[in-house]
């Protein structure tokens, strides 16, 4: 699963310059930006290396860099999309940037979801809140070559209806006959016209009871959701080696040098961020 990218082109700390070409409010405080490379060589490098699951460092000069996933799929490499919650100095600067503004990007870094290994298999995507972006990259990477995969089920939940991200895409998935979308919000988070499920993701997942036969599960969410979802998946009969997730940790370099993103001996930036549940269970829980 580990495929290390050798970036010998330039100074490893020098970012690419990106132009914001699209900007969308997803949920309160959550924005999606579409970015285009300004330099053809940078774009070529991205096209050659990006695979779904990889991450990048998005930055605004004068403020710094922040780490989040590439939310767009590996099947669409003309641009990069990122979705983030405005919470700190860098994300505030990013949120204040407008269409036409220039920001920076370093990456793509890390390993990936090995989607060729999922060919012919059923896919179960489980995601919570702001963790849909990394899952969405894999979802579109698979839907863009739909014929290669079996049944596709997406279970997505958020605290409230307002907190659901990619609402327009959720509608699209809901209408597709080749995608089974299960949407839920936490009890109390529903709106008067909410027609989908009410309940926490693990509970809703158990009710939907997808079969573990020939199925790969991809889960992404806050640690508490992952913890209980793994228990539910185990109950449903999923093997830990068929369950994939992506970890996040604070990073500064993304290159395996700055020394902070490790969980036990595993560097999330280089050996991750994508791990199977079996790999995560071998990590020291107290370091997660």
């Amino acid at each position: 699963m580990t495929e290390n990218i050798h970036n010998t082109q330039q100074n490893i700390y020098k970012p690419a310059i990106m132009k914001i070409v699209g900007r969308h409010d997803e949920a309160p405080g959550v924005k999606t930006m579409r970015l285009e490379f300004q330099d053809a060589t940078d774009h070529q490098f991205f096209k050659e290396t990006f695979r779904t699951g990889m991450f990048g460092l998005y930055g605004v000069y004068g403020e710094g860099e922040s780490t989040f996933c590439v939310a767009s799929p590996e099947t669409r490499k003309d641009y990069i999309e990122c979705t983030f919650r405005q919470s700190g100095r860098v994300t505030s600067a990013l949120a204040n940037a407008d269409i036409g503004d220039l920001i920076t990007f370093r990456g793509p870094y890390g390993n990936r979801f090995p989607i060729e290994e999922f060919h012919g298999k059923n896919l179960l995507f489980i995601s919570g809140g702001i963790a849909l972006p990394p899952t969405r990259s894999v979802i579109w990477s698979c839907l863009d070559q739909r014929e290669k995969f079996g049944k596709v089920t997406i279970v997505y939940g958020a605290r409230t209806v307002a907190d659901l991200v990619y609402k327009h895409e959720l509608e699209e998935w809901q209408e597709r006959s080749d995608v089974d979308l299960v949407l839920t919000v936490d009890p109390g988070g529903e709106s008067p016209d909410w027609k989908n499920r009410i309940g926490f993701v693990p509970t809703v997942l158990e009710e939907a009871a997808p079969s573990p036969d020939n199925c790969i599960a991809i889960i992404c969410g806050p640690p508490i959701m992952i913890k209980f979802t793994l228990i539910s998946l185990k109950k449903l009969g999923f093997d830990e080696s068929n369950v994939y997730t992506t970890l996040e940790n604070r990073m500064k370099c993304g290159l395996g040098k700055c020394g902070r993103c490790n969980v036990g001996s595993i560097y999330v930036c280089k050996e991750g961020p994508v791990f199977t549940a079996a790999e995560v269970s071998r990590m020291p829980a107290a370091d997660l």
Partner: protein, 337 residues
């Protein structure tokens, strides 16, 4: 008969190296700190310390280093690299532990992605190491399977003669040989006796410690809380350590122009791993001290087949609350008996 560099000829060597284009760097006293800095004359060099307070790491990985300069214009952003000042340097009078510390960090700065700030300085430096004839209670090179005359990371090893008369010269690398060609006529053949090496007592059983650390059951041992109870998280140990390499990246400037810098950071700070959400994987000082020990003796050797510790003992020597790697590994040695 071996080649000898007599102390009274050192100034001539400094002159010769300078005119050959080298910057000559060596141990000096600055205010109350002994450190390494560029010198004009041999008389500025201080060889009396067991080990200078600061290590030679600062010469390869400075505390704060400009990496990029940015200028934001109306329609574009210019980024230019700020590479380290180039030109050959001779670091005269490194200690064996410090020299090996630099070699230990080479694979880290070079795995997959090559950090040119580190390697430019590495490639342009000749490390002339002086073997140790003095040690103190904190020295622990022998516990790390090294010795007061280890050659790892050095280009030249000098063995002190009796009565500070000079040094016996051992050329270790091509780069060292090349630099010493410029002073070939200053060196003298002589059968002077070298002074006895420092005796550094073995303080812990490294293999037993590593085995204990590798046992997953010990990750949540009470030991970590007990041993780190008095740690105040000041980061002195990490900053003075020749092998600690963790850094932060920060911008300095305004919205239009400024510099992106690489600054030393430390695993002993709470903010080091703090997520934006407030979640902190290593939220206690004991978890952070465990990370430091695990990183040096379990994770780092797992990746690069070498411990991330060269036994200089600065962590214990300079710790304001008298704890350090030695004390921790001594306790682990006891636990693993």
């Amino acid at each position: 008969m071996t080649k000898i560099l007599f102390s009274d000829k050192l100034d001539k060597c400094v002159e010769r190296w300078k005119s050959a284009g080298f910057t000559v760097i060596g141990p000096v006293q600055r205010a109350n700190i002994s450190t390494y800095a560029a010198v004009e004359h041999a008389a500025e060099l201080e060889f009396g310390h067991v080990l200078p307070d600061r290590s030679i790491k600062d010469l390869f990985f400075p505390q704060s280093e400009p990496m990029l300069r940015y200028t934001i214009k109306k329609e574009s952003i210019d980024t230019s690299e700020c590479l380290p000042p180039s030109g050959p340097r001779i670091i005269f009078g490194a200690r064996p532990c410090d020299a090996s510390g630099m070699a230990i960090d080479d694979p880290l700065f070079g795995w997959d992605y090559k950090d040119e700030y580190w390697f430019q300085r590495r490639n342009e430096s000749v490390i002339v190491t002086i073997a140790c004839t003095k040690s103190d209670d904190f020295c622990m090179c022998t516990s790390l399977k090294m010795s007061p005359d280890s050659t790892k990371g050095s280009d030249i090893l000098l063995r002190p003669l009796e009565n500070n008369k000079g040094w016996q010269v051992e050329e270790l690398t091509g780069r060292g040989r090349e630099a010493f060609k410029t002073i070939a006529d200053i060196l003298q053949e002589s059968s002077e006796q070298v002074a006895p090496l420092a005796i550094v007592e073995k303080k812990f059983d490294l293999d037993a410690c590593v085995a204990w650390l590798q046992n997953p059951e010990h990750f949540e041992s009470r030991f970590w809380k007990e041993i780190s109870m008095r740690c105040i998280g000041c980061a002195s140990c990490t900053y003075l350590c020749p092998t600690c390499h963790c850094f932060d990246i920060q911008d300095e400037g305004d919205t239009y122009t400024g510099i992106r810098r690489k600054n030393w950071d430390s695993c002993s700070f709470a903010l080091f791993t703090m997520h934006t959400s407030g979640h902190n994987p290593r939220s206690t000082q004991s978890a952070r001290w465990r990370q430091r020990i695990m990183h040096k003796f379990n994770y780092f050797p797992g990746k690069f087949s070498v411990n991330s510790c060269s036994g200089c003992g600065r962590c214990s020597r300079q710790c304001p609350v008298d704890m350090g790697i030695t004390e921790t590994l001594q306790e682990i040695s006891k636990l693993s008996q």
